[in-house]
């Protein structure tokens, strides 16, 4: 089963990398970009077919390692 965990910065946390990307997009002349926040995507292959179990495992993975809960939020999706 394919799954995706998306990790994003919490609102209010300064994101210097996002700001730099935002600046670069503006200098490239890409119109209409108001702001950029950078995050991470983890594509994960889960063993077995039990969706509830997979979701549980991925939540554990996100909270124990993939996201730093001090500054980041995460979202688990089973694809």
């Amino acid at each position: 089963m394919k799954a995706r965990v998306t990790v994003t910065l919490k609102a209010g946390i300064l994101d210097p990398q996002g700001k730099a990307i935002e600046g670069a997009l503006k200098s490239l002349g890409v119109a209409g970009v108001a702001s950029v926040r950078q995050g991470k995507v983890f594509d994960i292959e889960v063993e077995g077919v039990d969706r509830a179990k997979a979701e549980q495992a991925l939540t554990l993975a996100a909270e124990k390692l993939l996201a730093n809960m001090v500054i980041e939020n995460y979202r688990v999706e089973l694809l």
Partner: protein, 232 residues
């Protein structure tokens, strides 16, 4: 003083640290591999040194913080044992939950390697008892992620509890945004745990201990540890 320096893959400051510990205390520290699950018996100071553990993959310090040895380090700290966490070690200690907050990318996105000025906020700690509170020392930094961030409640709590031990300042000890080179919240360079037995700091006091290689402003931090442990 029986110290143990934890060695993670990708760490590169462990020898500087071991040399400083030996230079000041006269005793060779134990080098402890990250995959071990126990600290040497009788360890009274654990050091998490600087470097680039696991190539800074995922987040700086994130993977090292989950290494087998960290459970023993956590137990050591919970019992009131001293932990000194420098640079990548500070990032590891935050990721491991030994210290609050997190070290983010430097505000201007540059890796910064230079000497900076630190104001010592208090001298009544095991790490700074040989300094005077308010003194300004010069020590090197070398990091790309040293911008200390925590939520507003955490910042208020550590400030109220007097747990900010070092701040980036001008040479005269005044706060000045121009000298807060990495953009850290409240110019925080180093913080203590709630029980004041764990210190995390971004600068490298271990590099300024030997007059043969330059200034010795970092030396008193190690002398403080030695005198704390001798008094105990």
């Amino acid at each position: 003083m029986k110290s143990a320096v934890v060695v993670f893959p990708g760490i590169n400051r462990e020898r500087d640290m071991a040399r400083a510990l030996k230079f000041v205390s006269g005793k060779e520290p134990a080098m402890v591999w990250h995959a071990d699950s126990e600290l040497p018996k009788g360890t009274d100071l654990v050091v998490l040194p600087g470097g680039f553990s696991y190539g800074d993959y995922l987040r700086c310090g994130a993977i090292a913080a989950r290494a087998p040895i960290m459970e023993a380090v956590r137990t050591h700290a919970a019992k009131g044992g001293l932990v000194l966490a420098v640079c990548n070690g500070f990032q590891i200690a935050c990721e491991a939950g030994l210290l609050p907050g997190v070290l983010m990318r430097n505000a201007r996105l540059k890796f910064i390697c230079k000497e900076v000025f630190l104001r010592i906020e208090r001298s009544d700690t095991p790490f700074t008892r040989q300094y005077n509170a308010g003194a300004v020392i010069r020590v090197p930094v070398a990091h790309g992620e040293g911008n200390y961030v925590a939520d507003a409640d955490t910042i208020a709590r550590i400030e109220d509890e007097g747990r900010v031990l070092f701040r980036y300042t001008a040479p005269d000890g005044k706060l000045d945004p121009a000298f807060n080179f990495n953009g850290a919240t409240n110019a925080i360079a180093g913080i203590l745990s709630e029980k004041r037995n764990v210190l995390g700091l971004m600068p490298h006091p271990e590099n300024h201990v030997d007059p043969a290689v330059g200034p010795t402003d970092g030396r008193r931090l190690f002398e403080s540890l030695v005198s704390t442990l001798e008094a105990a």
